[in-house]
């Protein structure tokens, strides 16, 4: 066994030092009744070549939308971008991926400084003062944002825009299911304007009023929302703040903030979301990387790890995990969150890509996405079988209504040819979400239009 170095002679010598007659004797104190009744049956152990062949066979059973020969317009909460080769090449340095959480700062400055830079980038993208070292994903980050708003305001209710990704809503409901009062009693919904597809401030206000006096801790709005429409956060922030609630801005597409005003500039108090589209391949949606930023006055209410700058005893600049008294390993049941392990390596990949893009690159990337999506939007909405669901502004994703009402049929039919036309919504069977990015050439978009026209004439 190549990962187990012990020779029989090694084992004999070690047992002599220990003073045990056999390896089995080291387990003698485990009561007989608790012992496994039989050896593990896990199939034959595989050598590396057989292992690779077996896994390659499994991988070939599917058809990856991100592999060569496929053309994908899938988004719906995870919009894959082209990730430069340098990102994964750097990630594969063992000093990054085989290190632990940086609890010993003297020999973990690489990870600590990279997290410090990640925190800075996320804060810059969202236009807020501070960001943490990452959460599991955008959905759990959103749930944690609501919990944080509860801590800050001392209130229990939350108003959630109908434009929030359904997985995020479900996750928030699960996270709050054990707290009092229960999630089903504390979530009010704000509706989208039926024409423009943006969250209607009047329904936000109505939901806040319906929750009763002073009960709402936050208003949660995704931008661009689940249907691709860019939200105007400022009036929503105004309503929330007028009622003493925070505005939580959520995004599943941080690239949008290369072109759009950041949530912090529009009044958001907390911003969170998913960053995996810039960090790595989609990998069936996991691991992701939860982004989480907030205003400076809320620092001590933040969940998750924070890295701060300091100096060593020689006055040299360095970085440490800080404000750890918020966290579970110190405050235990009174911690701001139970999170321990986060998504360090994905956060690093996000950081490397963001640095490669830089100030200009991000703006150019955003402009490319916008232009290609607008081209696709014009083309697809002119087809006989398709029309735009909403007239509000979009970034790189938009919702189409499918004539005949069966978006899933169109998607499934085209997937056989390796064309993934978009996400057929479970919550609205006649709706197709199409994401268009820098990865799509003009002829790819035109192929999509021809193919959709064929299956839904």
């Amino acid at each position: 066994m190549r990962y187990l170095p012990h020779t029989p002679e090694d084992i004999a010598r070690m047992l002599r030092v220990i003073g045990a007659p056999s390896v089995e004797a080291l387990f003698a104190h485990i009561p007989e009744t608790l012992r496994a009744e039989r050896p593990l049956d896990l199939g034959p152990a595989l050598d590396e070549a057989s292992l690779l062949a077996h896994l390659a066979e499994l991988a070939a059973r599917g058809r990856a939308s991100g592999a060569e020969g496929s053309l994908s317009f899938l988004g719906g909460g995870l919009t894959p971008h082209h990730v430069p080769t340098a990102v994964d090449a750097l990630l594969q340095r063992a000093e990054w991926y085989t290190s632990y959480t940086p609890y010993q700062p003297e020999i973990s400055q690489g990870t600590l400084q990279a997290v410090f830079e990640f925190q800075t980038l996320v804060a810059e993208l969202f236009g807020l003062a501070i960001a943490n070292a990452s959460m599991y994903d955008g959905a759990s980050a959103t749930a944690e944002a609501i919990l944080m708003a509860r801590r800050i305001t001392g209130r229990t209710h939350a108003v959630i825009s109908s434009g929030l990704h359904p997985h995020y809503l479900e996750t928030a409901e699960t996270y709050l299911s054990g707290l009092h009062p229960h999630a089903e009693q504390v979530f009010g919904a704000a509706q989208l304007d039926g024409t423009r597809g943006q969250t209607d401030p009047a329904t936000v206000e109505a939901a806040i009023v319906a929750a009763g006096d002073g009960g709402v801790c936050c208003v949660v709005v995704q931008t661009p929302n689940y249907f691709g429409v860019v939200e105007d956060l400022a009036p929503l922030a105004e309503v929330a703040h007028r009622h003493g609630a925070l505005l939580v801005a959520v995004t599943t597409e941080p690239v949008a903030f290369g072109a759009l005003q950041p949530p912090g500039a529009l009044g958001a108090d907390i911003a969170c979301g998913e960053g995996i589209g810039l960090a790595s391949g989609p990998s069936l949606g996991g691991p992701g990387v939860g982004l989480f930023a907030a205003r400076a006055e809320h620092t001590r209410s933040m969940p998750g790890r924070l890295v701060g700058e300091t100096v060593d005893r020689d006055g040299q600049r360095g970085y440490v995990l800080t404000l750890a008294t918020r966290e579970q390993h110190i405050r235990r049941e009174k911690a701001t969150s139970n999170i321990c392990t986060n998504q360090g390596l994905c956060a690093l990949a996000f950081t490397i890509h963001a640095c490669l893009l830089g100030r200009r690159g991000l703006a150019e990337l955003a402009a490319l996405n916008l232009a290609k999506a607008e081209y696709a939007k014009g083309l697809l909405s002119s087809l006989r079988g398709f029309s735009l669901c909403y007239s509000g502004p979009t970034f790189n994703e938009f919702a189409l209504r499918v004539r005949g009402g069966n978006a899933a049929h169109a998607v499934d039919t085209l997937a056989g040819d390796g064309l993934f036309a978009g996400v057929a919504l479970a919550c609205a069977p006649d709706t197709l979400l199409v994401a268009v990015t820098e990865k799509h050439r003009k002829e790819d978009i035109e192929r999509l239009a021809r193919s959709l026209d064929k299956v839904c004439p």
């Binding site: 066994m1 090694d10 991100g66 003297e106 500039a265 069936l284 040299q316 999170i339 916008l370």
Partner: protein
């Protein structure tokens, strides 16, 4: 003892040509970029005109650097990290074993890495097969009926497990409010309870280091939802009274949650699901070699007995009854606790863990546990005279030493020993944990060598620990001011906390 080579150890860590790399925001030049973007082949749209007031007025403050600068920066930074591939990483309860290279290759296969979660299920069959097979392997290893692969880390698994426990009770019309937790538990255990609205009842560790069964009996009643036990405990001791504890809790109507952080001690030896445990999370990033990545991503599947299956998070992967050899995602689970994150879990970690388990097989994993326990006990034998044990009971995969003797005789403390170990070229063990070992002002060193370390490495590490104990007597100041060989020295954590500087700004 002539059975191990007695080599006087020396501080060997040296600085090679190591470059500081200032924050990337202080590098580069305006107008420079490391981006490689495709040409615009459709009509241009000006974002400012398109979005009007919603357009970004000032671009975000990202750095302006070339790919070469980015590559150098992150390569240089990486060299300021310790890592498993550099040497022994004996952090107790973290199971820092070798991360096989083949795992990384498999996880990057386009047929896995390129899968979008919203693809039609017919195109996801390979991935669903991996998830289904991994669930079966984990159940075989742990003795449970079913498992969810959705949680992203151990603490996320705790959250899921406690939610299932709550749902189980509610399904029976019960609303118990208490969870009993030994004082040796990881901090995530009580924090996860709070998120579930449970009250925590701490159970004291007995004088022998094991769970005090009388305290447990006294605390267990009809209001008890569960006990949360770590086994082996964070003291590295097998909870020999697990069966009694399970009986007490079950009789009171509660369930047994086992924190599986230390499962590496039990592979092929104990199947918790068949030994009275109802729910257990498994850290794929500990026992099953998925890399820690400097703090994640992890993966924390949760195994449950058949009685808890209805409450598993949605969706689950099932065999498709309609098509032979096909799999489907089951969303319609009326009693499910719901969803804990987007999509289906950290699939990239599932692929790696599946690869590792298939390479090892049952006998291989059993041998891994045996060698992990052998390695821990070997270090125990070599070090217990200089560093008295927290508890004298048999050790499993990790061993907890104290600084009692050293501190009394020399004034040198655990933190100093930990920092001095760096000069000898090692990552320090977990320190000042678990809590029962640090009462009365003692410091604890919790050492988990794992099975992938050679006896030569263990000997060299033991020699270093003994040498530090000698230094504490002959030159205590050297130890107290360590590390000396690292490129950066002890950092001012007080300053960082008093005046937090959590992001780069131009000064």
């Amino acid at each position: 003892m002539s059975d191990h080579p007695n080599r006087p150890a020396k501080p060997i860590a040296t600085r090679q040509l190591l470059h500081p790399s200032p924050p990337i925001f202080e590098q580069g030049s305006p107008g420079r970029t490391g981006a490689s973007l495709p040409p615009l082949d459709v009509p241009a749209i000006d974002p400012k005109a398109h979005f009007g007031a919603l357009a970004r007025s000032e671009p975000p403050g990202l750095p302006e650097v070339s790919e070469v600068e980015v590559t150098r920066h992150f390569t240089r930074l990486s060299r300021w990290n310790y890592a498993i591939d550099i040497g022994l990483y004996p952090l107790g309860s973290c199971t820092m074993k070798y991360n096989p290279k083949v795992n990384e290759r498999v996880a990057r296969m386009p047929g896995f890495a390129g899968l979008h979660p919203a693809q039609p299920v017919s195109t996801l069959q390979g991935a669903l097969a991996v998830m289904w097979k991994l669930e079966r392997l984990l159940c075989e290893i742990s003795g449970f009926a079913r498992a969810t692969l959705q949680p992203a880390a151990g603490a996320h698994g705790e959250l899921a497990g406690l939610m299932m426990i709550r749902a189980y009770h509610q399904d029976r019309g019960r609303h118990p409010t208490k969870v009993l937790i030994p004082d040796s538990a990881h901090g995530t255990n009580p924090a996860s309870c709070t998120l579930n609205g449970f009250q925590i009842v701490p159970i004291k560790t007995g004088a022998d280091g094991l769970l005090d069964i009388d305290s447990l009996r006294a605390a267990a009643d009809g209001d008890t939802a569960a006990v949360m036990m770590t086994n082996p405990s964070t003291l590295g001791l097998f909870e020999e009274r697990l069966a009694d504890a399970a009986e007490i809790i079950h009789r009171a109507g509660g369930l047994v949650y086992m924190d599986g952080a230390n499962l590496n001690a039990l592979l092929g030896k104990v199947r918790p699901g068949a030994s009275g445990v109802d729910v257990m999370h498994i850290n794929l990033h500990k026992t099953f070699t998925t890399p820690h990545g400097g703090g994640g991503p992890g993966s924390g599947p949760v195994g449950v007995t058949a009685a808890l299956e209805p409450f598993l998070p949605t969706p689950t992967v099932e065999k498709d009854p309609g098509v032979d050899g096909a799999y489907r995602l089951l969303f319609n689970r009326p009693k499910s606790v719901g969803r804990l994150r987007s999509f289906f879990g950290n699939f990239g970690m599932h692929v790696r863990a599946y690869t590792y388990i298939r390479e090892m097989g049952g006998p291989g994993l059993t041998q891994a546990t045996e060698m992990a326990v052998l390695n821990a006990n070997y270090l125990r034998s070599r070090l217990k005279d200089a560093y008295p044990l927290a508890y004298e009971r048999p050790s499993m995969h990790e061993v907890v030493f104290t600084d009692k003797r050293l501190k009394r005789e020399t004034g040198v403390q655990t933190l100093d020993v930990a920092k001095r170990l760096m000069d000898y070229g090692y990552h320090p063990p977990t320190i000042y944990f678990p809590l029962p070992a640090v009462t009365g002002g003692a410091g604890a060193l919790m050492i988990e060598p794992t099975e992938t370390e050679t006896p030569e490495t263990l000997d060299a590490f033991a020699d270093a620990m003994l040498s530090i104990a000698d230094e504490a007597r002959t030159e205590p100041e050297t130890v107290k001011t360590a590390p000396h060989q690292t490129a950066i020295r002890r950092l001012d954590e007080t300053r960082a906390a008093r005046h937090p500087r959590l992001r780069w700004t131009r000064q």
